[in-house]
């Protein structure tokens, strides 16, 4: 199998799986559907690991590139590939996807077939976002992934699920529309300069757009990404969506979907609009700091366990945007690392809430107490994930937050001063939560009768806990993977940043350098994949 086919396979395997399940397995064969879906995502995860084998970690160039003409009349291509940033996010997505599916085994009891089909389609949608280097293609994936999530919340969610689902959908859609406008502006500007109709992201990297146009385009993209992150004050869809979503939905929402916003900033806003990025940076820093403190303070007072974790996400995502817009290598690397770390730790915390909810059917913190006595394994894993979320050295959260804070300190220590209070508050809300839920006397006989985690449940949490430790103790492999693309972006934003150091920043990937796949068989294979995916989407 050629390398680029492998990448496309990783992306479309879940959708193909969904198609197969839709066609081959009847509604009543719940158990087979469960097994099939879990095996598909697991295989997908293993396949994504294969990407590591042929990956060149020392370059910022795109790898596993597929480039096919798709709608030549308007210059749309099927253009996919990955760099270090995409690679790590793909691994995060396939891992969290497998875990989310595994966690649904007993949690979901109704409309099982549809549930798994939606989850699988969601996987493909998310993975597609991370590999698309054609704006049209990107936009399609970006929108497509909304649909399954909408249904996941709307059908399998809690009491107020419809409100949450529609709010999530419309809010995100509103942002997307603005992004579309921004993309079109780039499209026409590019044509006016180069005379070429193309939506190729890499060719936009080469443009020097006048600052005021940059300003407007940045604003358009900003709303789309800021809503997705979500940045303060666009965050209010998040607690609703999280609280209502089923566990797997929350895990994926927090773990991957939120990262789309920050990914968008890093992939598009920074390299295409470097001047506007610099101009907007202080503004975004202020919003980030507000998010950090505001999210933490509101999390502190939450009565609902899941809502607390949701607000903690707002706070943590504030750290990430702060790091990104420090616009230096430490901050950006920290931001990217924290995206992965947050996916692991907060994804894990949502699993924790889900496991408790599945047993007691309440998320009210006050209803719990003393769980540590009856669920020691649960208590241990919860502790590790909570500690990683609050950034304890030796665990993953520390590396990300530390790099972000040091990056922001390079930029402006005042920002760091304010952000650092976020880690104090994180300790407060997480430890207080832990105390109220796990410590103290057992509140009721019902709680006393709770079972500790079974093997399957441990298998959902243990990989995340181990990953948290590994990423905290040995972050180098990830940091090395992220460094070349990060340096390329920084050099683009701050030309000459690396002057006088022994680092020579790689260039941003260019459209010409990206190899064009020409083998016919492959072309048809990829077409088939794309068709199949499209077909599956139509069917739902």
């Amino acid at each position: 199998m050629s390398p680029s086919l492998l990448l496309n396979l990783v992306v479309f395997l879940p959708a193909l799986g969904a198609l197969a399940i839709a066609l081959l397995l009847g509604k009543e064969r719940a158990s087979e559907i469960r097994w099939a879906a879990n095996i598909i995502v697991l295989v997908d995860f293993l396949a994504s690991l294969l990407l590591l084998r042929g990956f060149d970690f020392g370059t910022a160039e795109l790898q596993y590139v597929t480039r096919l003409s798709w709608i030549p009349s308007i210059g749309v291509e099927y253009f996919t590939g990955i760099d270090g940033i995409s690679l790590t996010l793909i691994l995060l997505t396939t891992l969290l996807g497998s875990i989310a599916l595994l966690s649904s085994w007993t949690y979901i009891t109704s409309r099982i077939k549809e549930y798994y089909i939606f989850l699988l389609l969601l996987q493909t949608g998310m993975l597609g976002v991370f590999i698309s280097f054609d704006f049209f293609l990107f936009y399609i994936f970006w929108e497509v992934m909304l649909v399954p999530m909408y249904f996941l919340i709307g059908i399998w969610g809690g009491k107020n699920r419809l409100y949450a689902a529609i709010k999530f959908f419309l809010y995100t859609l509103a942002g997307s529309v603005l992004m579309l406008v921004a993309i079109l502006a780039l499209y026409f500007y590019n044509h006016s300069v180069t005379g070429e109709w193309t939506l190729n992201v890499l060719s936009y990297y080469q443009l020097s757009i006048p600052p005021d146009l940059q300003w407007w385009v940045f604003l358009g993209l900003f709303f789309a990404f800021a809503i997705k992150v979500p940045m303060w004050p666009f965050h209010t869809w998040l607690p609703d969506a999280h609280v209502q979503a089923p566990t797997a939905g929350s895990v994926i929402l927090a773990g991957v979907l939120l990262k789309m916003g920050t990914y968008g900033f890093i992939r598009f806003s920074l390299p295409i609009l470097p001047d506007a990025s610099l101009q907007f940076a202080p503004f975004i820093a202020v919003l980030s700091i507000i998010a950090i403190l505001y999210g933490a303070l509101v999390a502190l007072m939450q009565k609902d366990w899941k809502s607390l974790v949701a607000y903690s996400s707002v706070s943590h995502m504030g750290f990430i945007t702060l790091g990104i817009f420090a616009l230096n290598p430490l901050g950006l690397q920290g931001g990217l690392f924290q995206m992965l770390a947050h996916g692991v730790s907060t994804g894990g915390l949502f699993l924790i809430v889900g496991l408790a909810y599945e047993r007691t059917h309440t998320r009210e913190i006050a209803a719990y107490g003393g769980l540590g006595q009856v669920m020691p394994v649960f208590a241990t894993l919860f502790a590790i994930l909570a500690l990683s979320s609050m950034g304890l050295p030796g665990l993953n959260g520390f590396i990300g937050e530390f790099l972000i804070l040091i990056g922001s300190f390079e930029w402006n220590p005042v920002y760091t001063y304010w952000a650092v209070w976020g880690i104090v508050l994180a300790a407060a809300y997480l430890l207080w939560l832990y105390q109220r839920v796990m410590f103290g006397e057992l509140k009721s006989d019902k709680l006393a009768a709770l079972q500790d985690l079974n093997l399957r449940e441990v298998m959902t949490l243990l990989p995340l806990a181990l990953l948290a430790v590994w990423m905290g103790l040995y972050p180098q492999p990830l940091l090395r993977t992220l460094e070349p693309p990060v340096n390329a972006i920084i050099e683009r934003v701050h030309p000459g940043y690396f002057a006088g150091t022994d680092v020579s920043p790689p260039a941003l990937p260019s459209a010409d350098a990206a190899r064009v796949e020409q083998e016919d068989e492959e072309k048809s294979a990829v077409d088939a994949l794309a068709d199949a995916a499209g077909h599956a989407r139509v069917r739902q």
Binding site: L173, V177, Q333, I399, I406, F409, G500, V503
Partner: protein, 729 residues
């Protein structure tokens, strides 16, 4: 042994792994667990001791052995802030590296030595009749604590120190909350961690400032870079102030001391190990380690000294009236830590470490003896329900007596020497003053008072126990008393490693020639080694590390640094000093004796209650309520923050989300209006049109009247309105 010193922090982790993973399921034997945990500590101690001896055998210049285990954090290039070291860019690089020098070596011995004794003691202390299911957890955490504490003192950079720093904070949290079913324990644990986190935030800021000033976090590089600065440089003042915030949190100084008294919710061995002997001294260690920076920041030094002196006084005054035996010891610890910080603040770093060491001996002893009493009295903590225990608990009594005499400063015992050195330096040190000395001396008197009070109430006079308790009083088992005896011996002899100048007579002078803690620490505390240390940007060194992550790099066997040890010149006016030193020593001893005498007068009869204090009701109440600091903090900070959180939540719901929902509603209404408009005006006009358009209008109607289409319409109009709203408002 020296080349294996890096194993020291890893050995307790073996204990963590064994006890943490296997003890409760497979080993299922409390003694085995206890022995594994203690054995790890003993092994670490033995390696430490061996390495110490070997280190002492090296020439002074080579007594800094370093090792890098692997590259821990190696990220992008950073631009330095303006600095005088001339560094403009630097790569952020932290290796998982350890260093073993005079200071680390001493700290290792204290941590593992005292730690081992406390582990042994805990084997007995934690054993209860219905076995405590948390026994394994306890020893796992204890070993984990030891590992982090050893990382803290052995790390070769500020980043490594920070790992240990937060790690010990975590273990402290876990162990304070050991009896987690008790709400008070959970509260205390959380309080300890959060208050410490405030300090840690300061530490972090200091750490960042260090990096952007010196381009590295390695001690060697930082201290070498500091040579470019002159005293009083603003950035150094900032850095040291921030580090001080960290130290204040960890070492429980004003204003962040509030967590330590509450930390007594943990089992007593925890109080002895973490909240007396080792962890809380981390702040002192940090200041001493950073002495090169602190010495260049006179303003900070003033603040350090003031905080130390004030804390010593403040905590001692509270300790005078408390009745809970552990609480008195806790405030006493805060007070003694104040002494150590004071010593650092006047520039007597080695003396600070000296007191840290002797305090570790006698305070661990006092805590464990108090624990022994609690053990015998079914967890009783109130001294007014004890009394006359010297008959039934002779060993505990005698060791407690030794500990009391040592902390009070009775001449000849450990505390006398180290406290006297602090007071002398408070008077005569680089940043000393008569005021600092006066406060220190006053605290010596207060210490004597509350310790004597405690001794009398607990072990002398009449028994005030209820009958049931009294019948069951027993001396603790040997596993608990032997550590007490060892520590009692150390509390007696520990002071002779730092004999003050005026007492260097006859055999003491000879001893001083052989062993002197100040001389031992001098390469660290005088900053001489730092000046000669290699600078940053050692490319070959880096390449070697990158090539082989586990390769041992450093000065093992082949000295990297060569320091010419200057002959120490005797200070001028030695004779005057001696006379003055004698005077001050006699005064402070007299004050201590006065404190003992006062306590004896008041409490010797055994007393019935704190009768004499009825005469001083107002000040008594202030002290009894600990100056209402906790209440004030709750009122000013904790509750206000909660209010803020609650307020923001309301705001979030009403205003931020309200806006979103408002836009949605407005959109819906607009959509409804459009539908109305569509049906009545547009559709109506179409309907009203000529029949020619009949077929066309049918198509339109079909398109626009179904449910799905309506929905799509609402969405698109909604999006339009949203977009307009965002664009124009």
């Amino acid at each position: 042994m020296l080349e294996y010193f890096w194993l020291i922090p890893l050995i307790p982790l073996v204990g963590v792994t064994i006890n943490g993973l296997f003890a409760s399921r497979f080993i299922r034997n409390e003694n085995v667990t206890g022995i594994i945990a203690s054995g790890c500590m003993l092994l670490a101690f033995l390696i430490g001791a061996g390495a110490f001896v070997q280190l002492a055998g090296l020439p002074v210049a080579e007594r800094n052995v370093q090792i890098e285990l692997y590259d821990w954090l190696d990220a992008g290039v950073a631009h330095m802030h303006d600095n005088e070291a001339g560094v403009t860019t630097a790569r952020f690089r932290v290796s998982f590296g350890f260093q073993f020098d005079e200071l680390s070596a001493l700290m290792v011995l204290v941590v593992t030595g005292v730690g081992f004794l406390i582990h042994v003691y805990a084997i007995g202390y934690m054993k209860h009749d219905p076995p405590d299911p948390g026994y394994y957890r306890f020893f796992t955490y204890m070993n984990l604590f030891a590992a982090f504490m050893l990382i803290l003192v052995l790390g070769s950079s500020y980043a490594m120190m920070f790992i240990g720093w937060e790690g010990v904070g975590l273990c402290s949290y876990l162990l304070i909350g050991y009896y987690y079913q008790k709400k008070s324990a959970g509260d205390a644990a959380k309080k300890a961690f959060v208050v410490n986190r405030i300090g840690d935030a300061g530490f972090l800021l200091g750490l960042f400032a260090i990096f952007f000033t010196f381009g590295t976090l390695d001690y060697d590089g930082v201290f070498a870079g500091a040579a470019h600065y002159s005293a009083g440089a603003g950035v150094l003042t900032f850095i040291t102030m921030m580090l001080l915030v960290g130290a204040v949190g960890k070492s429980a100084q004003i204003p962040l001391f509030v967590w330590l008294p509450d930390a007594m919710e943990g089992p007593t061995p925890v109080s002895a190990l973490i909240h007396a002997a080792t962890m809380v001294t981390a702040g002192v260690y940090m200041i001493v380690r950073s002495n090169v920076l602190f010495s260049l920041a006179p303003t900070t030094m003033m603040v350090v000294a003031a905080i130390g002196a004030l804390t010593a006084l403040f905590a001692a005054s509270i300790a005078m009236v408390q009745n809970d035996i552990k609480r008195v010891l806790a405030y006493s610890t805060v007070s003694q830590l104040g002494y150590m910080i004071l010593a650092c603040g006047v520039g007597a770093y080695a003396v600070g470490i000296f007191h840290l060491m002797t305090h570790a001996f006698f305070k661990a002893l006092l805590f464990m003896a108090a624990g022994s009493v609690m053990h015998a009295l079914h967890g009783e903590l109130d001294m007014w329900k004890m009394g006359n225990l010297r008959k039934t608990m002779p060993i505990t009594h005698k060791t407690f007596l030794v500990g009391t005499l040592a902390i009070v400063g009775v001449p000849g015992l450990a505390g006398f020497f180290s406290k006297d050195e602090i007071l002398w330096n408070a008077w005569a040190g680089t940043h000393g003053s008569a005021w600092l000395w006066a406060v220190g001396t006053l605290v010596a008197g207060m210490t004597a008072f509350y310790m004597t009070r405690m001794l009398l109430l607990t072990f002398y006079g009449n028994s005030r126990m209820d009958e049931h308790t009294e019948q069951h009083v027993h001396e603790s088992p040997p596993v608990m008393t032997y550590p007490l005896i060892v520590l009692a011996i150390l509390s007696v002899i520990g002071g002779y490693v730092g004999i003050p100048a005026n007492l260097q007579l006859g055999p003491l002078a000879a001893l001083h020639e052989r062993i002197d803690i100040t001389r031992w620490l001098e390469p660290v505390t005088s900053g001489t080694r730092a000046q000669e240390a290699p600078g940053t940007g050692d490319e070959e060194h880096t390449a070697a590390v990158a090539a082989a992550p586990l390769q041992i790099v450093g000065a093992i066997g082949e000295p990297v640094t060569v320091v010419l040890q200057e002959e120490r010149s005797e200070q001028a006016g030695h004779q005057d000093h001696t006379a003055m030193e004698w005077t001050l020593m006699l005064i402070s001893t007299a004050v201590a004796l006065a404190g003992i005498g006062l306590a004896y007068r008041v409490y010797a009869g055994g007393g019935v209650a704190d009768e004499p204090f009825k005469r001083f009701a107002a000040p008594y109440r202030v002290l009894w309520n600990k100056y209402w600091v906790d209440e004030a903090y709750d009122a000013v900070f904790v509750n206000r923050i909660k209010d803020l959180g609650r307020g923001l939540w309301v705001l979030d719901d009403a205003l931020v989300d309200g806006t979103v929902n408002g836009i949605a509603n407005a959109t819906l209404q607009a959509a409804n209006a459009s539908v109305e408009f569509d049906t009545r005006v547009i559709d109506g006009s179409v309907d009203g049109g000529a029949g020619v358009f009949w077929s066309g209008s049918r198509v339109l109607r079909a398109l626009q009247s179904g449910y799905v289409q309506n929905y799509a319409l609402i969405i698109s109009v909604g999006v339009f309105v949203l977009v307009s709203a965002y664009l124009f408002f």
